[in-house]
Every structure is written in structure tokens, then in C-alpha cells.
């Protein structure tokens, strides 16, 4: 997107392209005969810009919830502190591991697209691992809820528990979105029409989920 905020390239009156846009360039990217190696990858901007915009919106939502949490805590003296379910820390590790595996997959596929690798390395495998770890994380979060439940801490028990459930649920929901993205990536990879930008966008989203979770964990750890 950086290229777009400058003055446009000088235009030569001869040989204007009959088709295609100046900056986006995704129109040229329909894979030729489904063979990824023959595709010139201009790393199309829209999806990678779009993902940043989406992440901005998500950050805004969680910022709002954070400020709500701080205001609510200060609003009255009924805030009850409790220790976070220990499983959360395990979940954190799992989520980070998933980011790691996704990164491996991304690089292999990139290399494979560039033609420097051959198909045999099966990048898809790592995607499946990521998917699995993601699901594991969500299950872990659910286990954390069960732990709280066993302590008698429900959604309405106390503002602190309310915010715990709201924040973790909101994050889990977004993680599900990421899992959906992964499934699509895998599907496209098998159909051999995956474009790098799709993968990059999904990866960025997934890594953002890590950072978001890290932030939430810190927040909850401090406030609860």
C-alpha cells in the first residue's frame, strides 16, 4: 500500500495496458492453468491492505472492551480478584506453536511458488498441524471456562468474571475466523489456485491473534 500514497508513475502515452490497474494488479493473477509456478506473483495489495484494515478494526473493538473494563473496575468497589486458570498458560504456548508451524508452511509454499522447491515437501502438512493446534487452543480456552465454573465463577458472578468470559469469548470467536481462513487456504492449495497474498493475509491474521491473546492475557493477569 505504500506505493499508492505517492504520485503515480509517469505515464508513457505509447503502449498503455489495455487492461489492469496501476497499483492493485490482482487482475493479472488468475493462475494460468492452475499451475502455481507459472503465476507471476505481484503479491496483490488489496487482501494484504484489507487485512491490516480488519486488524485495525479488531484492535479498536478490544480497546473499547479494555477501557470498559478499566472504567467498570473503577466505578465501584465490588471488583473481586481471582487467579487465572493455569491452563491458560498452556494454551498460550499452543497458540504460539501454531504461529510457528504456520510460518514454516508459509515459507515453504512461498519457496514452492517461486519454483525453488518441488511439490514433494508437502507444505500442506504444516497447515494441518496449525489447524490442529488452533483447535486445541480453543478447546483449552473452553477447559479454562470449566475450571472457572468449578470455582463457582460464572458470567454474572462478578464484573471481573464477566470481563474474563467476554474477552476470552470474543478472542475465541476471532480465532475461529482464523481457523476458517486456514481451511480455505488448505482447500485452495489442494485446488492449486492459492495466491500468496491469501496465505500472507491469513498468516498475518493468525499471528495477530497471538499478539492479541498475549495482550489479553497480560490485561487479565494484571486486572483479575
Amino acid at each position: 500500500m505504500a506505493t499508492t500514497v505517492h504520485e503515480p508513475p509517469k505515464i508513457d502515452l505509447e503502449g498503455l495496458p489495455s487492461h489492469g490497474s496501476g497499483n492493485g494488479g490482482w487482475r493479472n493473477l488468475v493462475p494460468a492453468a492452475g499451475d502455481l509456478r507459472r503465476v507471476k506473483d505481484h503479491s496483490p495489495a488489496p487482501s494484504s491492505t484489507g487485512i491490516w484494515v480488519a486488524l485495525a478494526a479488531i484492535s479498536m473493538t478490544f480497546a473499547a472492551l479494555t477501557s470498559a473494563m478499566i472504567v467498570r473496575q473503577g466505578a465501584s468497589n465490588d471488583w473481586r480478584h481471582f487467579t487465572l486458570p493455569s491452563i491458560l498458560y498452556l494454551n498460550t504456548l499452543i497458540l504460539f506453536a501454531s504461529s510457528f508451524t504456520l510460518e514454516i508452511a508459509r515459507r515453504r509454499i512461498a519457496a514452492f511458488m517461486g519454483g525453488t522447491r518441488d511439490q514433494s515437501t508437502r507444505p500442506a502438512l504444516w497447515l494441518y498441524v496449525t489447524l490442529l493446534l488452533g483447535l486445541l487452543f480453543v478447546l483449552g480456552q473452553y477447559a479454562a471456562w470449566l475450571q472457572l465454573k468449578s470455582q463457582g465463577l460464572y458470567l454474572a458472578t462478578n464484573p471481573s468474571s464477566s470481563f474474563f468470559y467476554v474477552l476470552t469469548a470474543a478472542h475465541a470467536l476471532h480465532v475461529f475466523g482464523g481457523l476458517g481462513g486456514l481451511v480455505r487456504v488448505i482447500g485452495k492449495l489442494n485446488k492449486r489456485v492459492l495466491r500468496r497474498s491469501t496465505l500472507v493475509a491469513t498468516a498475518r491474521y493468525w499471528h495477530f491473534m497471538d499478539l492479541l491473546w498475549l495482550y489479553l492475557l497480560l490485561l487479565l493477569w494484571m486486572k483479575l
Partner: protein
């Protein structure tokens, strides 16, 4: 992403469903948004008629009203609760489903990609979802008319705890309230998807030569609006979800301890009433500008074309709109001067509020200054654009009062406020929509609208709007409190004649809108065929066919060589130079 390649791959859809209902085409989606706004605006107007009848002529029996609500209007006379329910729905429908959808989502969807020279938005599926999600939100909201004891009566601002404690607080505060909150949460999703598309389109989809500074002011307005929308709606959505939780899950985000509502002690504790107000107004004030900034863009665009000259400065307008967008997040506290917020922060909020009048004033000055020495063409579109300026001034000056906490002590929650925001954001924005409609209708439908009817519509609306909303200010100065269903207090009784006058004016002005509706529908089917460039405009939407083909520009994507508004340029071959014309010359007024 998948949407993109799929869209780029498939040509124009053939089946009726894919073409007109679940269409991926930003132009169809824009029209769908426009249709939704049209339905919504007439519903909202109808509600305002009922309210005005009740206010002007107390206990006036409105024939058939009991059909709308059995308990709300026994014997066709409106009950207090039903008045408040209509008021709440009027506000919600107008602010969310008219002022946000029409100038931003409708026109923006149709013209942003065309004006920047794109084939479509980058994520057509999101775009389609954006509309249908908004549509569902509208249905959910309307459905609350037909459930239990009707829609919520807590006003469009939905202040907690009234909005949070449930049906014990009054009719409609049970299911009706939950429907309201759900509807708005859904609406937020729709607008977030829309903003995502708008921003990405502006940043990534511009055609060759279309630098940011070469985008028409409308595109700029939509871009800035979508940035505001992305931030504002991302805050309102969680707020609505917390509100729903307070309702159904027994949490206490907004409900304080030990509340006793008509004898019943609630089992909530420690919630913060002001928290809702902060969250809501952090969205609510930007929302006001989400409604008006696209109007500014449309008015500039329409005026320039009809003044046959560029504005004195393209960049100043952009700078002003941007600073308004940025400031809009620092001023929201002026809605809460007497809310119990720390009085020091009231002062802190009042200064940015006063400051924000500066960019607004500069925009107006640039408009007026550009009128000087122009070759103004008078038609329905330009009349409404000029009317917008007049309305914007009238509504704007009352902001000087409301921006000051001390004066707000007198005017807060009076009809002065009602008059202020109706003029500056409602009527002005609607004028922007009308200007846009008369200006772009040919391009959108391929038919010209009837100019005579358009001008008639303008005159009635312009005079009528002033007759309705100017007196509101007088009422407010006389301390006439808003959101009252009847004026029984001794000090309000002398003001009732004014209310009668307003009611009559409102009925007449509302009736005039049916001229517009007739014009719209009739022209859509039987209007004269429109040429490609009826107004001799220069921006990209005028360089493509009317109506534009499925991919907007046929087989040849446009390449841009000029600023968007090059009219009457010395040294140019013709009176106006299209952005796409490769003609080379030096523009003496080009901004360095």
C-alpha cells in the same frame, strides 16, 4: 483473496438472483442500499408525522392508529409510552438506516470504485454481506414493532440503566430493547465490512494516474468517512453486546447497585451508568460526521460541476474534512456536560468542540468564496447543494452555544439541541442526498429526472425545513424540554402554538417528499434517456457509459492525466477537461 479472483473471473451475472438480489456488483449493492434508505426514510418520516400530530394537537385521535398498536393507541389516541417508542424508532431509523446508509453506503458503493477507476471493490462478497447484514438489522429493528409491548422507548441514545434493567422500567424495555441492541450490533458488522471495502478500494484499487490528490472530493469524503466508521462502529458493537448481556445474562456492566424500580429491588451491583454514555458517544459523535462528511463531498462535487470551476482549494477542503474526522473523537464529551461527568473534563471537552468549528467554517468559506466569479448553473442538484450550505450554516452556528458547558446548563436536553442537530446533520445531510440523487440519477439508472418537479420539490423542502426547525431553537431558548409527549407544565403551555405551527409545517414538508418519490419512480421507468455526461462533468464516472457496464469501464481501463476538476482552464482546448483526456497543458491553478 477468493472473492476477488472469483469476481474477476466471472463476467456479468445472468441469473436474476445473482444479478439483482445477491449481487457482487458494487453498483447493484449501491442501489440496494439506496432502496433500503428510501424505505427507511419514509418510515421514519411517517413516524415523525405521528409524533408531530400528537405534540401539536394533544390527544388528537389519528384514524387507524390502533391498527399499528392496540395498547399503544387505544381509541387512536397515542399513549405516552407509544409516543416515546415512535420517537426512539424515528431516531434510530433515521440516524442508522438513512443518514449512514444513503450518503455513505449507497452513493459510496456505486461511485467510489468508478471515481477511482476500479472494476469493483476488492472484496465483493464482503460488500454483498455488508448490505444483506444491514438489511437484516433493519428487519430486526422493525420487528420490534410487532412483539410483546412494542419497541424500546429509551431514545436512540439508549441511556443505561433505563435500557439495561428490563421490562420493569417500562413498556418495550424487555424484548423490544433486546431487539434494538441486536439490530444495532448487526448493523455495526455490516458497516465494518463496508468500511473495509471502501478503505481498501481507495488505497489499492485506483487506476493508473489516479493519485490520492487526483481523487474527487466525494471519494475523499467517503474515504475519511469509512475510516471514521471503522473506528466508531468497532466501539459501538461491543457496547451493544455488553448491554444485551446486562439484559439476558444478569451481568452488571451498566447497572448500579441497589436500584429500586417501581418497588422492586434489583440484584445487580456496581455497574457504571456513565460507562455506557462514554462508549455510546465515542461512537455517537463520529457518527454525526459519518452522516455529514459525505454530504460535504457530494455538495463540493455537485457545486464544482455546476459552478464550472474548481474550488479555490482542493487540498484545504481535504485537510478540513480530515481534521473534522480526527477532532470528532475528542469532542464527544460535549454530549455529557451535565451528565455527572467530572466538571473539569466538561471544560476539557468544550475546547476541541469549539475548535472543530474552524475547519467547518473554512469549508463553508471556501464554498462561498468559490461561488465568487463562478458561472453558476441552477438546477435541482445545484439548488440542493446550495441549500445544504445554507442549512449547514444555520445548524452550525447553534453549535457555538452547545459547545459551551455554561450555556449548555440552560440548553441541554431542550428543543434547541433538537433544532441544532436536525438542521446540521439531518436536514443538511438529507439535502446532500437529494443533491446527489438529482446529480447522479442519470448515471445510476440511465434516465434523466424531471427538473421542474425537482425544483418544486426543492422549494417546498427548503422553506419547509426552515419552518420546522428554526422554531425549535426558540422553544429551546424558552427551556422547552425535549422528549416530552405532552406539554402539561404551566411554563410550557404558552409554547404550544409554536408546536402547532411546527406540526403543520412538518406535515406539509413531508407531503412534498412524495413529489420526490413520484419523480424518482416515474423517471426510473419513463424518464428521458440520459447521455453519458449530462452535466459536462470531468471525473471518471462521466467518462464511462450510462449506465456503466458490469466492470464499469468496458474493455479499456481508464488512465488519469488530470486533477478531478479542470473547468475553464486557460490554455485548455475545451471548457472542461476530463480526467482521462491525455491533453497536455499547464494548469495555472494547480496546487503545489
Amino acid at each position: 483473496m477468493h472473492e476477488v479472483s472469483a469476481h474477476a473471473a466471472h463476467g456479468a451475472p445472468t441469473s436474476f438472483i445473482r444479478k439483482y438480489i445477491f449481487s457482487l456488483d458494487h453498483k447493484v449493492i449501491g442501489k440496494q442500499y439506496y432502496a433500503l434508505a428510501l424505505v427507511a426514510v419514509f418510515v421514519g418520516m411517517f413516524l415523525s408525522w405521528l409524533m408531530r400530530l400528537h405534540l401539536g394537537f394533544a390527544n388528537y385521535a389519528i384514524p387507524g392508529l390502533h391498527l399499528l398498536s392496540k395498547t399503544g393507541a387505544p381509541g387512536n389516541v397515542m399513549t405516552p409510552e407509544y409516543y416515546l417508542q415512535l420517537m426512539t424508532m424515528h431516531g434510530t431509523i433515521m440516524v442508522f438506516f438513512v443518514l449512514t446508509t444513503a450518503p455513505f453506503a449507497a452513493f459510496g458503493n456505486f461511485f467510489l470504485p468508478i471515481q477511482v477507476g476500479a472494476e469493483d471493490m476488492p472484496f465483493p462478497h464482503f460488500n454483498m454481506m455488508s448490505f444483506w447484514v444491514t438489511f437484516v438489522a433493519f428487519l430486526v429493528l422493525i420487528s420490534s414493532f410487532f412483539v410483546g409491548d412494542g419497541p424500546t422507548l429509551a431514545g436512540w441514545t439508549q441511556y443505561a440503566p433505563l435500557s439495561a434493567v428490563g421490562s420493569v422500567a417500562g413498556p418495550g424495555q424487555g424484548l423490544g430493547e433486546i431487539l434494538w441492541a441486536s439490530s444495532i450490533a448487526i448493523f455495526c458488522v455490516g458497516q465494518l465490512l463496508g468500511s473495509l471495502n471502501f478503505i481498501t478500494t481507495t488505497l489499492d484499487m485506483r487506476t493508473k494516474g489516479m493519485s490520492l490528490m487526483r481523487m474527487p472530493l466525494t471519494s475523499w469524503a467517503w474515504f475519511i468517512t469509512s475510516l471514521m466508521g471503522l473506528t466508531a462502529f468497532a466501539v459501538l458493537m461491543p457496547a451493544c453486546i455488553l448491554l444485551i448481556l446486562d439484559h439476558v445474562a444478569g451481568t452488571s456492566f451498566f447497572i448500579a447497585s441497589n436500584l429500586v424500580i417501581s418497588g422492586q429491588l434489583l440484584h445487580h451491583s456496581g455497574g457504571s451508568t456513565l460507562l455506557w454514555q462514554h462508549l455510546f458517544w465515542f461512537f455517537g459523535h463520529p457518527e454525526v460526521y459519518i452522516a455529514i462528511v459525505p454530504g460535504m463531498g457530494i455538495v463540493s462535487h455537485v457545486l464544482i460541476t455546476n459552478m464550472r470551476r474548481p474550488l479555490l482549494s482542493h487540498r484545504v477542503i481535504i485537510a478540513c474534512m480530515t481534521s473534522i474526522g480526527v477532532l470528532s473523537y475528542m469532542v464527544y464529551g460535549h454530549h455529557m456536560f451535565v451528565s455527572g461527568m467530572n466538571p473539569a473534563s466538561s471544560l476539557a471537552f468544550s475546547f476541541p468542540t469549539l475548535i472543530i468549528t474552524i475547519p467547518a467554517t473554512i469549508i463553508v468559506l471556501i464554498w462561498i468564496g468559490s461561488l465568487y466569479g463562478s458561472k453558476l448553473r441552477i438546477n435541482a442538484a445545484s439548488l440542493f447543494a446550495l441549500g445544504f450550505i445554507s442549512m449547514f450554516i444555520s445548524g452550525g452556528v447553534s453549535g457555538f452555544f452547545l459547545a459551551q458547558p455554561s450555556i449548555d446548563i440552560m440548553l441541554h436536553a431542550t428543543y434547541f439541541v433538537v433544532g441544532h442537530f436536525h438542521l446540521v446533520m439531518a436536514v443538511a445531510a438529507i439535502f446532500g442526498i437529494f443533491a446527489g440523487t438529482y446529480f447522479w440519477f442519470p448515471k445510476m439508472t440511465g434516465h434523466m429526472m424531471n427538473e421542474t418537479l425537482g425544483k418544486l420539490h426543492f422549494w417546498l423542502t427548503f422553506v419547509g425545513a426552515y419552518c420546522i426547525f428554526m422554531p425549535f431553537h426558540y422553544l429551546g431558548i424558552a427551556a422547552n424540554v425535549r422528549r416530552y409527549q405532552a406539554f402539561t407544565d404551566p411554563y410550557l403551555i404558552p409554547l404550544i402554538p409554536v408546536h402547532k405551527f411546527i406540526t403543520v409545517a412538518a406535515l406539509a414538508t413531508g407531503a412534498a417528499q412524495f413529489i420526490f418519490l413520484y419523480n424518482l419512480v416515474h423517471s426510473r421507468f419513463w424518464g428521458a434517456a440520459a447521455p453519458d455526461n449530462p452535466w459536462e462533468g470531468t471525473s471518471l464516472e462521466w467518462s464511462t457509459a450510462t449506465p456503466p457496464p458490469h466492470n464499469n469501464f468496458g474493455d479499456k481501463m481508464p488512465v488519469v492525466y488530470h486533477d478531478p476538476y479542470e473547468y475553464n482552464i486557460e490554455g485548455a482546448s475545451s471548457e472542461y477537461v476530463m480526467q482521462t483526456s491525455p491533453e497536455q497543458y499547464t494548469n495555472p491553478h494547480e496546487e503545489k
